[in-house]
């Protein structure tokens, strides 16, 4: 007690853990590098527990896959790469705590991670205070590369605007003008809904109703009763994770998907996996999909990934983790430094090469707002699908076509003096 932290080190805690019989649980030893070189450290904060865990696990797997690949090929500028993962539990508070740990104890050089928007915003603010490069892997809120953008923050996943733009046209043209929204009640959902409504109004459509569902809503029947009463042509679901799964199941149980076109912005392979067959319906956008027969390198990537994680196909989230780690590697090599400002400058305009991009075109981190111009994969769920064939991509739309022009994002990057 005189020495609250000094007497602790990881190994001691491990021993203590073993003593209480949890040795078997304490898995995942940190990667070791035999070389005498000091490693370059990337801290990753992603949910391992909590409702966001499934998505977090995918991102972590993707990042670890990249870490192993990079180290196998000689590291970054001859130095090993070390990825240190902490559980942010999808909570901004916990995420900040863990970031503080990583900075002060592990002395990380770069920070990546976040599955949800709230954690992403909190980490971005934290990284800005600590002069740290932060690559957001999976928080979609527009403002992260919009009005709340920071000189040190980049984002690999898309903005909500890009997500909504991805399949708006399809839904609108195919199914009709009157829309109803069921939206998750936090930044991601709000942003998505606002973006859809803007596009809907521009196209001359009408919002006939909407409901904000808090995260963790289990029973959507009361919302669905209202949906039936308002008789929209399109029911737009802007939910995430378990909420999306629950709502889609209940829609199919009520038979609503037979009468009203159901669609929305983002769908994730993780969500489709959690759905029974009857609930595989609707028009959605994926941010990346493993099945791209015409795109080079994708098949090899999927094969290698499956070799490391048997039976688990890479998802868009895995790719975010993968691409974010690689982006840092490429930027460091371009800057020939790990100094934050230099790496930031090198990352601006950085084009992901085809073997990393794993999609058609040349996605780049836009210099003006630090947003990656990744492609969107609109399509529909396959009603009779079996894992991993759950989604039919109807088009691959280059991100630069969908994203708001830099002048309209509201982002003005101010660099430190």
């Amino acid at each position: 007690m005189n020495n609250p932290s000094g007497s602790f080190d990881r190994r001691n805690v491990l021993k203590a853990g073993a003593a209480v019989g949890v040795a078997g649980l304490l898995a995942t030893p940190k990667p070791t590098w035999a070389a005498s070189e000091k490693p370059i450290k990337i801290g990753m904060i992603d949910p391992i527990t909590s409702i966001f865990a499934a998505l977090g696990h995918s991102e972590i797997k993707g990042a670890k896959f990249a870490e192993a690949e990079i180290n196998k090929k000689g590291g970054i500028m001859g130095r090993p790469l070390q990825l240190i993962v902490e559980d942010g539990a999808g909570s901004p508070g916990t995420s900040i705590d863990k970031a503080a740990r990583l900075v002060s104890r592990d002395k990380i050089d770069f920070l990546i991670g976040a599955v949800n928007s709230a954690s992403a915003l909190a980490l971005s603010q934290f990284a800005n205070k600590h002069n740290l490069l932060y690559v957001c892997t999976g928080g979609h809120v527009d403002s992260l590369t919009g009005k709340d953008c920071h000189w040190n923050t980049f984002r690999t996943c898309s903005t909500t605007w890009m997500l909504t733009a991805g399949d708006f046209e399809t839904l609108f043209k195919k199914f009709g003008k009157t829309w109803y929204f069921i939206t998750t009640d936090y930044a991601f959902g709000h942003a998505e809904q606002a973006d859809y409504i803007t596009q809907l109004k521009k196209a001359g459509g009408k919002v006939v109703g909407g409901a904000l569902a808090p995260v963790g809503t289990t029973d959507f029947s009361s919302y669905l009763i209202d949906v039936k009463a308002k008789k929209p042509k399109v029911l737009c679901l802007l939910l995430a994770g378990d909420d999306q799964v629950n709502c889609m199941k209940q829609i199919s149980q009520f038979g609503i998907d037979k009468e009203i076109a159901v669609g929305g912005a983002l769908i994730e392979l993780e969500e489709l996996q959690a759905l029974p067959q009857a609930a595989l319906y609707g028009w959605w956008t994926m941010e990346w999909y493993w099945k791209q027969p015409k795109t080079p390198h994708v098949a090899e990537f999927v094969k290698a990934y499956l070799a490391k994680y048997p039976g688990q196909y890479p998802t868009a989230r895995s790719w975010f983790g993968y691409a974010s780690v690689y982006a840092i590697k490429l930027a460091v090599e371009r800057a020939k430094s790990i100094e934050t400002l230099k790496v930031v400058k090198a990352m601006e305009g950085l084009v992901l090469p085809p073997e990393i991009a794993l999609q058609p075109g040349t996605p780049a981190y836009r210099a003006e707002d630090h947003q990656l111009m990744l492609s969107m994969f609109p399509g529909h769920a396959i009603q009779t699908g079996k894992y991993p064939n759950l989604f039919e991509v109807s088009a691959i739309v280059p991100g630069a076509q969908l994203a708001l022009p830099p002048a309209e994002t509201g982002c003005k990057i101010k660099y430190p003096a």
Binding site: L25, I48, T49, S50, I51, A53, A54, G56, H57, A211, L212, P214, G216, T218, D219, S221, S222, Y223, L224, I225, D226, K228, A229, G241, D242, V245, N246, K249, Q250, S252, Q253, F254, G255, I256, E270, E271, Q273, A274, L275, P276, A278, A279
Partner: protein, 290 residues
């Protein structure tokens, strides 16, 4: 508006039946084991995952029976190895923290064994449709849930009324010292009661999973309405818990028709009003020195 109100009211009652089913298991354990079982939600999830694993071998119906019993076996172990040691401590904080910790452990185990990825629980196809187009929210499955809730509750009350162990459980609820003086083995009685409570949780968990799907954190969202149902219905009264579940379900349903944003908060508001007007709840007994 009238029709929507009616829809929502019915829908609320269906939801309420489900809350009641969860609340009953919790109330049983609260009564005789004098334990606020925070792990009740985790046991629900555990039984649902057992069912998920069993369905390929036993089908849905077999799993619906076997999985709660398996959860009951775990409950038996938990009661005899852990909870039992704490009965002699008068302060309820110990069982409360114990079950709180257990909830964390069980949830973490589920995540480790079955993965964080959500999973669907297949339910028989014929339950998976609305019964009529007008009353579309009356799906076969939801009615089935209500039926199970009714049968389960009926069975519980029959057991409590007519079997020896049931009569003893009721007597023990009222006055544990006296029945212990009458030579009833209260250790055995409490174990049996705990198991019954967990089996109830298991059934509720599987039913929930059929509707919502499985994920490791599913128990967290389910346990709070059950608490509120108990407080509203009257702590210490099983019938009260049943009524409490129905009332908050109904209230939340009706509120949705007018002010959907308040549909969760309203159950706490009702509870608040109840506490001010009638602190012992609908059917709770008033004790001078409880």
């Amino acid at each position: 508006m009238g029709l929507i109100l009616l829809f929502n009211a019915f829908n609320g009652l269906i939801q309420g039946a489900f809350y009641a089913l969860m609340a009953l298991g919790l109330a049983l354990i609260l009564g005789l084991n004098n334990t606020i079982n925070f792990a009740q939600g985790a046991f629900m999830a555990l039984a649902a995952y057992f069912a998920f694993t069993l369905v390929p071998y036993t089908g849905f119906w077999g799993a619906l029976i076997a999985a709660p019993l398996l959860a009951g076996v775990i409950g038996f172990a938990v009661e005899t190895v852990l909870v039992r040691r704490l009965y002699s401590r008068k302060d309820p904080i110990y069982t409360l923290l114990l079950t709180f910790g257990l909830a964390l452990i069980i949830q973490d185990m589920i995540r480790t064994i079955w993965g964080a990825q959500g999973k669907p629980l297949a339910i028989p196809g014929f339950l998976n449709h609305p019964l009529s187009n007008t009353y579309f929210f009356l799906t076969g499955y939801r009615l089935f849930v209500v039926a199970v809730a009714l049968i389960g509750t009926g069975a519980l009350f029959a057991v409590l009324r007519f079997t020896r162990i049931g009569i003893r459980i009721r007597a023990g609820n009222a006055d544990l010292e006296t029945i212990s003086a009458l030579g009833v083995n209260i250790y055995l009685l409490r174990t049996a009661n705990f198991i019954i409570g967990i089996v109830f949780a298991g059934v509720a968990g599987i039913l929930a999973a059929g509707q919502l799907g499985l994920n490791p954190t599913m128990g967290d969202a389910l346990i709070m309405p059950a608490f509120v149902a108990i407080v509203v219905g009257g702590v210490g009264s099983l019938v009260g818990s049943l009524l409490g579940g129905l009332i908050i379900g109904l209230a939340s349903g009706i509120t949705t028709a007018f002010f959907p944003a308040a549909s969760e908060v309203v159950i706490y508001v009702i509870m608040g009003i109840m506490l001010v007007v009638r602190p012992r709840g609908l059917l709770g007994q008033e004790g001078l020195f409880e």
